[in-house]
Amino acid sequence: MKIHKYDTVIVGAGGAGMRAAIESTKRSRTAVLTKLYPTRSHTGAAQGGMAAALANVEEDNWEWHTFDTIKGGDYLVDQDAAEILAKEAIDAVLDLEKMGLPFNRTPAGEIDQRRFGGHSRNHGEAPVRRACYAADRTGHMILQTLYQNCVKEGVEFFNEFYVLDQLLVEEDGVKKSAGVVAYELATGEIHVFQSKSVIYASGGTGKFFKVTSNAHTLTGDGQAACYRRGLPLEDMEFFQFHPTGIWRMGILLTEGARGEGGILRNKDGERFMEKYAPVMKDLASRDVVSRSIYTEIREGRGCGPEGDHVYLDLTHLPPEQLDAKLPDITEFARTYLGIEPYTDPIPIQPTAHYAMGGIPTNVQGEVLSDNTTVVPGLYAAGEVACVSVHGANRLGTNSLLDINVFGKRSGIAAAEYAHKTEYIELPENPAAMVEAQIERLRNSTGTERVATIRLELQECMDANVMVFRTEQTIKTAVEKIAELRERYLNVSIQDKGRRFNTDLLEAVELGNLLDLAEVMATSALARKESRGGHYREDYPNRDDVNFMRHTMAYREVADDGTESIRLDYKPVVQTRYQPMERKY
């Protein structure tokens, strides 16, 4: 075991982690621990754009953007946070441009902007051009630009280090962060990083679904590390299903395709979104569009012999426009489906895309241990966190924005905190839990296979807690997950070695997915209403009287060692917007 000492440790090197690192490295001695080489992070898969009311191509302002974000989140958004997001969006985009990001340009040479789902002029009048973009690889360009600037600033990376435990120490009755424990993939060695601040920026947890746009590596490691140490997870029942994933594969096809004029059609060729969202049509918010697609499928208007998908139609758009604005997604259709988007519509279905919930933080990125108490020295930003700027449903282009605004904020806050505080003494045997976990998995002679349990989990989640949910389906999921958690104790791996043991790490990741799936299903069961991405067929309406509140899920361990989930609730911060019926 090796012990390292840094002012600030950042867990994860996607957009939020690297944006934080650029700030904290200037201010404090910083280490970035990342399970992937930074440029492999899933920020790079984001396509369509990053919202900011620059008003470069038409009238716009941040107040409209704030309203759209709150409405998009079905009023579960903390409105003070949404206002910060929309206001600071403008500088966040300009910061990236100054760092070198090659945005597409207007004829005047300014940053070009395009339409995106749920973003509107004057509180819902019509779609507005607010998404700043670089073709359909905006996330790729953000990831590259941030990495380039990390190189410039000399950010210190520990690549292929998996953070498996969060060290919390109680001092004067307050839980404080003392550092993290990490596993080095190349050697199998365990490292303890003692630090004054820790920032989690480790991304989402979409791999508990089967049809997902998420990378294989998005297994909720940061959420799980904090949750196991007794910290709450907020609003985990809210998961976004992106309307346009490649049929069966789930690979993302950007909403920017509809922003450029693409149309969703059913088997009769009908533009069905006109029925569900008369004003915004194909550019309604993602939860609305995904439900509409599945309604078409369930009512027998789906395409193909199984009637199990609909079409994204780009055939009326000029090929030059597709080549210039949507080169990557049209190539995906050619590569993975053998389809030419110039002439043929693309079969799509909703795909599990984004966790609105996560580790609760305030607007400085400080992690909360309950509804109000800050954990000194602990921060989170990006998809792993829940500020909450996305509420019950995130608007497209607001995640690339979130990672930049709150990545920057947490990077500054964590480094400043490190300056004014002393190291906290590490607990005795700081790596004990991780060592025990690794040894148990390495030495297990159990009969269960990781891949089998993972697939059963994914199929169960797809079938029961996806776009449509009921009491019965969620209960089925809760029971199945409990069974899988039991079987997981009997899992064994084949690779017993120390070098690059990805067999072992996949087993660890599966444990994280199982814990988080349980939290998600349990939170969903208790929310007896429909709001944003959480749609209950048995409670089809939003219930502001009983459920205008955030879910807070805690892991409880009884004296006899039995684990359970305790649910609590947190009020939503409302400033200037009263909840209204949500229509697009």
Partner: protein, 258 residues
Amino acid sequence: MATPTMDKAEAAGTPEPGFADTPYITATFRIRRFNPEVSDQSEWEDFEVLIDPKERVLDALHKIKWELDGTLTFRRSCAHGVCGSDAMRINGKNRLACKTLIKDLNPDKPITIEAIKGLTVLKDLVVDMDPFFQAYRDVMPFLITKGNEPTRERLQSAEDRERFDDTTKCILCAACTSSCPVFWNDGQYFGPAAIVNAHRFIFDSRDEGGEQRLEILNDKDGVWRCRTTFNCTDACPRGIEVTKAIQEVKRALITRRF
């Protein structure tokens, strides 16, 4: 009722344009294995996999790892060609495993898979990427500007933006660099990927560090080592005209115009 879901194995026939539905086939994957904890020699190992030929080579590797041999080791993440983790040598050509479909490889014969060349193999298909990223860092891959920053964005015409568009697509997968015979023979050579990333800034109208980067690439291990074999262009999974970019950097070194 729950959300309708689809099961790949159960789905039959499709009138969709594009791929006709194809039956599963048994394909042989001949993989060069290496694990220094076990032996200092590498050896080929065959795995037979029942697979839909429309699936990716990465899907086959997962089937092997998840169902046959958990010790098989490779890097992967996004699985659709944007993260750059899974460059490997497939049937003798550098490609991304997640962007190569089985049906495009003549699965009647064994499909060979080995680590990319020119970088030290650490285990199976995993190589040491540090020298590759060091070459990247050495070309100063970030925007260099002088004077005060403007309040708003720097202006750039659509034409100026287009000038370096091709080289912004790079995902640093190393398929190009590890396909280059010059790099195989001399790991000191910067390699195509580093030059591509220098090009991305040299030809960016906002950048003022072009001269510095050109001097770095004027080094004996710089662009002049390129023998224009076009392996890099063939290997690039993003379709970047890598050799052309290298030639443009050479030309800029001679004319000092960019």
